[in-house]
């Protein structure tokens, strides 16, 4: 049994498909990063998993329970860090955590949970005066009540400074090492890259890519761009390169020509070919891009202005093609 499984899950709001035929599988024990820009359908998906929003089509299970008909059972075994939550301003941190423990019928020590999120020393303070980061950690402490099998965290790092985000990641990793499956959403690739086993990328309500973080990287690193600066106008050598095996894109601009190859091993033949064409190479740059670029391109769908990101457009189409198959 998978931790989360959805079949053609969809949700419409009026004319808008917030989520469209989503097939998601989160395996037990893994950390799954659910990526996408704001408005891509991440929160709607999570809201459907938790019973906040009923689906318009499709079905799904969380820990084997039907998300429409066994929502209370789901929430009994899942720890939830919701998005855009508000604290009970007059209640102390300990009261918040105790409420979660009692509701779940668990026997955790509130101070122990607060200690795990490093809030032990403010347990008696009312949550109304907490900073965003403290509120976020308080919500996480509540999510940890009852030793859940699965943590569903909606943008756990939102509103946190880099240091806070790093601490949040450390806590997530720690919980995962205790055997908890973690499903969390983010609109920042950096947040998930470091700790996720697998990622799914949402855009316009669809899952456009899903893979292990390593293969996503491999797939992406395979694409490289070579930028030559020549001593003559570069247009002349374009025809010679166009027909070469492994070349996916060529762009000539004045004395510069950039060549995108699908496979890193094709770099050397391209350099040889340019050298053999008789022009003098004044400079060669090789741009390998990051996951961050890939994500930016995938999720905005625009040709970004940066050199790195521009390169990703080609990869994007390839990835989307693969995701559609």
């Amino acid at each position: 049994m998978d931790a989360i499984e959805t079949n053609s899950l969809g949700r419409r709001f009026g004319d808008v498909n917030a989520v469209e035929s989503l097939d998601l599988t989160v395996q037990k024990g893994e950390i799954y990063g659910f990526l996408g820009p704001n408005g891509a359908g991440k929160s709607t998906t999570i809201n459907m998993l938790l019973g906040f929003t009923p689906p318009s089509s499709g079905s799904g299970t969380v820990l084997g329970y039907d998300l429409e008909h066994e929502s209370v059972a789901i929430r009994q075994s899942v720890g939830v860090l919701p998005e855009d939550f508000g604290v009970y301003g007059r209640l102390t941190a300990r009261k918040h955590v105790r409420f979660a423990i009692e509701t779940k019928g668990a026997d955790d020590d509130p101070d122990d949970l607060l200690g795990r999120v490093e809030l032990a020393d403010v347990a008696d303070r009312t949550a109304g005066g907490f900073s965003t980061g403290m509120k976020q950690r308080l919500a996480l402490a509540m999510a940890l009540a009852g030793n859940p099998d699965l943590l569903i965290l909606d943008e756990p790092s939102s509103g946190l400074d880099p240091n806070g985000a790093r601490e949040m990641r450390a806590i997530i990793r720690e919980e995962n090492e205790r055997g908890t499956t973690v499903f969390f959403s983010s609109h920042v690739m950096e947040q998930v890259e470091a700790i996720c086993d697998r990622v799914g990328i949402m855009r316009d309500g669809r899952l456009i890519a899903e893979d292990a973080i390593d293969s996503l990287k491999d797939r992406f690193d395979a694409d490289s761009r070579l930028v030559f600066t020549l001593d003559t106008v570069a247009d002349d050598i374009v025809p010679a390169l166009e027909t070469m095996n492994g070349v996916t894109d060529i762009n000539a601009d004045g004395n510069d020509v950039s060549v995108v190859v699908a496979d890193a091993s094709r770099k050397a033949p391209v350099i040889e070919a340019v050298g053999a064409s008789g022009v003098t190479i004044k400079d060669i740059r090789i741009d390998d891009s990051s996951l961050e670029d890939l994500f930016a391109t995938l999720t905005t769908g625009e040709r970004p202005t940066s050199r790195h990101a521009e390169e990703n457009a080609a990869n994007t189409t390839q990835l989307i093609r693969e995701a559609d198959q």
Partner: protein, 283 residues
């Protein structure tokens, strides 16, 4: 059973606010203060000295109105307030069904009304004992129980509205509208229907049964009828139903039936509120 925790947390939240103490002060003012007025106004030697019953009947109208307004004020934010602040995501992210939330909120808020009411009656008992002769313990406790029932009814109506809407402003409008139409101005409704049918205003006797029934469908009316059975106080007795009617008293105008209407005023609004809340999308 998780409604217990919802109710308890809700009450703990109110304990932390000043609300509970403000309400207690108000109830002390009404129960102990207003019941003292007949004694304070009494000039020795002129007529008989006011007794326990006079204090009670003087306080009755004020007390019931205060409890009903407190019930509405305490209840209207119960659920929609959490929707606006976002804390509803904690409530519903934990293993609470939406029914647990509605039931827990009604009981939590009813307790928020009950505690100041009891405090008011306790302080009131001391004052009334000191001022008047003939303190009737049973009547006094009967009136307290009746006050708690009133609190529950108005809290239920307000929480039902709170469950039905998605903004606090709509909750205020809904609760205010219901209070005006079904409570303060309800007496005009049977009168208006009568005028439409008969082209004349009704008298105070020889009324058709439907007229009295419509009248009794308001929020306060059935409670007012029942107050006569729970508490026996001189001065608040009204004309009996039999005297107002043209014919015999049908079963739905007998006193016991007022309980059915009171229960309906708890169950029907909460049913609608739960239905709407259950279908609400928390996005």
């Amino acid at each position: 059973m998780s409604w217990v925790h919802v109710a308890r947390k809700d009450f703990a939240d109110a304990l932390r606010s000043k609300l509970l103490w403000v309400l207690s002060a108000l109830m002390i003012l009404v129960v102990a203060g207003i019941s003292a007025i007949p004694q304070l106004l009494y000039i020795p030697g002129q007529g008989p000295a006011p007794g326990f019953d006079d204090g009670m009947s003087f306080m009755f109208t004020w007390m019931t109105m205060m409890v009903s307004i407190i019930g509405l004020v305490v209840g209207y934010r119960a659920i929609v307030g959490e929707r606006e602040s976002g804390s509803i995501r904690f409530l519903l992210g934990l293993p609470n069904s939406r029914r647990d939330v509605v039931v827990g909120k009604v009981l939590g808020r009813a307790t928020v009304v009950a505690v100041p009411t009891v405090i008011g009656f306790l302080v009131g008992a001391v004052v009334i004992l000191a001022l008047y002769d003939g303190f009737a313990v049973t009547d006094y406790i009967g009136l307290l129980v009746f006050a708690l029932v009133i609190g529950l009814v108005y809290v239920s109506v307000a929480v039902a509205v709170s469950a039905s809407v998605n903004t606090r402003a709509k909750a205020v409008g809904g609760v205010l509208g219901i209070y005006l139409i079904f409570d303060l101005l309800w007496w005009t409704v049977p009168m208006a229907i009568y005028w439409l049918l008969e082209r004349e205003l009704p008298g105070s006797t020889d009324l058709p049964a439907w007229y009295v029934l419509v009248e009794r469908l308001g929020i306060w009316e059935p409670l007012g009828i029942l107050s006569g059975t729970l508490v026996d106080i001189a001065g608040v007795e009204t004309v009996s139903t039999a005297d107002r009617l043209a014919g015999d008293v049908p079963f739905f105008l007998e006193t016991w039936f007022a309980w059915v209407i009171v229960i309906a005023w708890v169950a029907i609004p909460l049913g609608i509120g739960y239905y709407r809340f259950n279908r609400a999308v928390m996005s």
